[in-house]
Symmetry: C2
Subunit: 757 residues, 2 copies
Amino acid sequence: MDNWQIVEQDFRLEEALVNETLFALGNGYLGMRGTFEEGLGPAALEGVYINGFYESAPIIYGEKFQAFAENKQTILNLANAKLIRLRIGDEEFSLLSGKLLSYQRLLDLRTGVLRRSLQWESPQGKQIQLEVERLVLHTRRHVALIRYRLTPLNFDGPLTLLSGIDCAIRQSEHAENDPRLGTNFSGKVLRLQHKSFLGQAVVMVAHRTVTTGFTAVCGIRNVLDAPAACQAVDNDVMGFKYQIAARCGQPVTLDKIMVYVASFDAKAEPAVASIQTAEDELDAAAAAGWSALVAEQRDYLADFWDSADILIEGDDALQRGIRFNLFHLLQAVGRDERTNIAAKGLTGLGYEGHYFWDTEVYVLPFFLYTRPEISRDLLRYRYHILDKARQRARQMSHPRGALYSWRSINGEECSANFPTGTAQYHINADVAFAIRRYYDATGDADFMKSCGVEILCETARLWLDAGDFIPSRGGQFCINGVTGPDEYQILVNNNAYTNLMARENLRFAVQMVSWLRQADAAAYHALAEKIALQDAEPDAWREAAEKMYVPYDAERGIIPQDDAFLSKAVWDFAHTPRDHYPLLLHYHPLIVTRYQVCKQADLLLAEFLLHDQFERAQKLRDFAYYEPLTTHDSSLSGAIFGILAAELGDVDKAYRYFAETATLDLENKHGNTRAGIHAANMAGTWQGIVFGFGGMRAHDGLSFNPTIPAQWRAYAFKVRYRGRLLALRVTPDETRIELLSSEAIEVRLNGVPVRLD
Amino acid sequence: MDNWQIVEQDFRLEEALVNETLFALGNGYLGMRGTFEEGLGPAALEGVYINGFYESAPIIYGEKFQAFAENKQTILNLANAKLIRLRIGDEEFSLLSGKLLSYQRLLDLRTGVLRRSLQWESPQGKQIQLEVERLVLHTRRHVALIRYRLTPLNFDGPLTLLSGIDCAIRQSEHAENDPRLGTNFSGKVLRLQHKSFLGQAVVMVAHRTVTTGFTAVCGIRNVLDAPAACQAVDNDVMGFKYQIAARCGQPVTLDKIMVYVASFDAKAEPAVASIQTAEDELDAAAAAGWSALVAEQRDYLADFWDSADILIEGDDALQRGIRFNLFHLLQAVGRDERTNIAAKGLTGLGYEGHYFWDTEVYVLPFFLYTRPEISRDLLRYRYHILDKARQRARQMSHPRGALYSWRSINGEECSANFPTGTAQYHINADVAFAIRRYYDATGDADFMKSCGVEILCETARLWLDAGDFIPSRGGQFCINGVTGPDEYQILVNNNAYTNLMARENLRFAVQMVSWLRQADAAAYHALAEKIALQDAEPDAWREAAEKMYVPYDAERGIIPQDDAFLSKAVWDFAHTPRDHYPLLLHYHPLIVTRYQVCKQADLLLAEFLLHDQFERAQKLRDFAYYEPLTTHDSSLSGAIFGILAAELGDVDKAYRYFAETATLDLENKHGNTRAGIHAANMAGTWQGIVFGFGGMRAHDGLSFNPTIPAQWRAYAFKVRYRGRLLALRVTPDETRIELLSSEAIEVRLNGVPVRLD
């Protein structure tokens, strides 16, 4: 089987929801779940999303305390433009009735085309052949396409095709007691604001949200290649019904262009302009024609794969798995500085379409080293919401600085459970670290001057107010009352990850303020004036960094995850039934937090990110201590363990972690892929190759320490770094590094400097 | 001014809400806010409550985790039977119009009668004299009375009296962001199930809740002493309108008997039986007549005061304050084993009518040493909900034992914010401690056999599962991940109060199991079989108690409130504006918990309760350390500080704390008395006298170490102990102890044994 293709060979109703996620298409702006054109009744979870298009409502608390997040933001399921219903005589085509004679669904990762082929026999014995192709264009973010080709196999007779927009939109309900799904809206949240019909082809509808005042315009244009009687349909479904006298063996093709245009301007009456845009996009796409659009998409993806592809020789399943992951990351990522990448991409309502630290720590490196302009857009999103972070800091009584919200779309805090939400102050340091990485890999001084240094200053300021120099700790700088990445240890003191990353935040802020002062005095003074930066502030940050407290347990020689971790009993893994994982769905948070048990990598993540600040022996001891305590109940865990295992020389273990994560969604290993992909894990698998097996580290220079699993013949990847494009190919015998761009560069390979030119 | 009387001399609209609370009447079953018969429009917060009469609804969470409390329970405001509207010609009597020529409201604590006297001139110049008396009978828990006497002062003419039941019931809204008020119901939660009119006097209505299926029957009977044309009224108000040709100077009197009967049986169709009960109660009260009912009430209260009164000579304000508090405690306390004492008594919707640990630690001693049968009823309530506590333990994954809910009415956990709710496991030990106190003071072996030992076993079992023997703490028994009484330090490890009180729980369980085994082998075996008690269990409890970890800071010589407390910075009190208290209304819980700052006594409370387990020097150091860190943002704080100050010899300080707490509600010192009284603080003031200045301690014998504030000439109180009634009178010169019952007893006075006979 082609390892560029994801193929479903049989239709199984019980796998329909998961497959809707896997076969979802998107372009970072628009996302469509892989539901069928004809629907699947209540068995389907229809979903069309625009990145950042949400409705808001007050969060209801049984007991509401000061500065609790006020409003939720939930991404919305929009009108469904994919709808095409087929009637053969008086029989409705549906996979839930009749007989499926053959079936295949295929997602081609090179072309970005989703193709479904099937032969179906109606209850009355009429047979048809159906070929459906679908694309969501990367080249035209508002546009998606369907080509629907139908052939009667054993009859002549009347057919009816209904192609329209389904406005009976359901914001899906979530399962009980799974906090990962969040609270979606249950009622009708989109109000029809406009509808229009043009000729026998075009329908345009506009919906508006009540509270946020966003408008989503959805339009379609049908082109049928057969003579037909046409009738407009105007109810929940708005579209056209085509009556066709079909002939046995003669295909009928319906080309459907779909557009989605959002306006986020709540003040204006935006429908007019957005409808105009939608009409223009429809016209332009129609003028270009199917073949040209398909070619656009293929070319765009060819360019993407040219630098992003990872080659694994000797393991088709993992090869396919990692490509699938990278394909979905591209589909999910916002590229307009105003949107970001949701935890579930644009494939489901899980986590309400929120952006988390996942972006900075998990997703960003993939784009940074393959499509750095996208990583810049992601960081500019953080700059765009910096004012919201300043406001959040004030709400939290911090007189200075900025505190990024734990989860949000527009930047305002939306976490309704502060012990695993607002308490995760580490997000500030994660953003700062991403900026450090970005600057290291791009040398983009303009970004640092216009955005980066300002974020660094504001996040550094916050640490100074969140922590204190504690006398009983010898005056060291302690950060109490936070939750680290490991959400099984809530409201802890001196979470090692947080303290280490905050120290890096403080240090880098000091360094970059100093840089700015020297590199561009005018820019420095402008910034200093804008944020009232005092000369003494960086000195204070330096002092806090120098005196940062990092817990250490001399007896065991390990770094405790937090002050209290080692004073807890170890979780009774032996008596925890297999079906009691993930623990968060089976134990109250209070119970879990009383024990040494981790949901995900926490300290180990810091030891990976800040790799040059720890001795190898330290990492070995810490890895050995924490691995048995970690449930990997978070999909963010395995990739990091795999990377560290590779660094520490246990390639077999690294392989097992990689294999587990590479097909996490494709094989629905966490059991909840129906609610959407796990974007952070997908990016983690890229890191597993590049940082893990490839041993790439980048901080003041690029280095590689490649290893290769015994199962593979070779693997290869490319990275962009400071304007260069490098290609690595690793086999059991050798590592070849090739410079694909002109300017020379020196890297370290297995500790040895290598000059590439 | 008589220090048995609470008097309001002027009507001030801005004090109306607070006064409604202060002049509330109740009998532990029925409670009525002190609103006016004629109402006060939206300025009033009408409130009639039956203890334990609540509606339930799912608690809504933005993110709901496993074992979060499922349903809220909120006490309901019932139909208002107090309503009497007066029209003089075409003018409606209201304190919001016309002119108030004189006004006085007086609550007589000896007779339990609330009397309002006023002269009022209508906008058109008609003057009336109004005298209204109101009682809620302690002797007939369903019955309340109003005598409404009206005299035209300067006119003859038509009057209309409307006396009925107002069924337009509002469940009051709460102020934003005050978690202490909880979420009340906003819609209509009581459904009219029955209404009937009898003659020209009796109206009966029944309302039923939807979810809990409770029924509240409310009836009235009007008796007018003047000829009148009568007309039934049947709208939101159901009652009778009496038209009277009034004569100048001739009083008209309306006697109104009110009954409230609740049925908590959701299965039966209970209205019939309850209506019958209500009719019987109305008939019986009418047959007894006003004077006899008033006499009943007076006699009941005389008996109450005979043992409960506290005498303070030389300070009328505090004398009145403490009597007011004790009066309200009697009004609030449930006496039927199925209800308890709500945090706000039956005077408001604050804290939703929930029962907390307040009962066991604050309220119970007052009743135990004055009306021990009431304290037994309170403890039997805990036995009654023991099965709910067992269920809660299972929900929390504890395989054995019982975990009392932090806040509830029917025993199921209702706390919607687990860091300050479910995390307060100490409630288990508080219940156990109350049982220890009860047994010590009463010797009630029957209670121990039927209820007490079973509760002790189940709570002890829970501690064994909640804590662990921690190797890194030398195998000591640690309890991690709890919140102590001080809710400003959330989710801490080894909260000293919790560990100390859990140790006592374990020890007392061991002791009483051993006692039961010897005292009544059959009872022991029955219990052992019922709860599957293994012989080895008490040994395990003993071991956990012996190895209980209690934090200690050798450098400062103090007991840290928890493992992390001393590693935090001290709260910046100097820069906290006065209006930023209570901190919980101005800072996110995360911010507060990062600092050494206490909402209330925590460790110090344990040092008071377990007084004989600490050296005096230890208590002195701890008091000196914690006092400056305590904001007393909880009304439960001051009393305990006062008691310890007295014990430690600082009588001036003890006096200041006492004075602060004694009039906390009367002077609305916490600014929220409008939402209801602070029952625990009221009981704390009794403790302030008896345990504080009186220095009484009772554990294996009774002792007194009296002191007296310089401001007082004398104080006196009585205590019941093991069937005896003792009277103490303390002056600056001497302490007199008198035995008022027959059986001899030995007590210790200032450390010296004294035999009383």
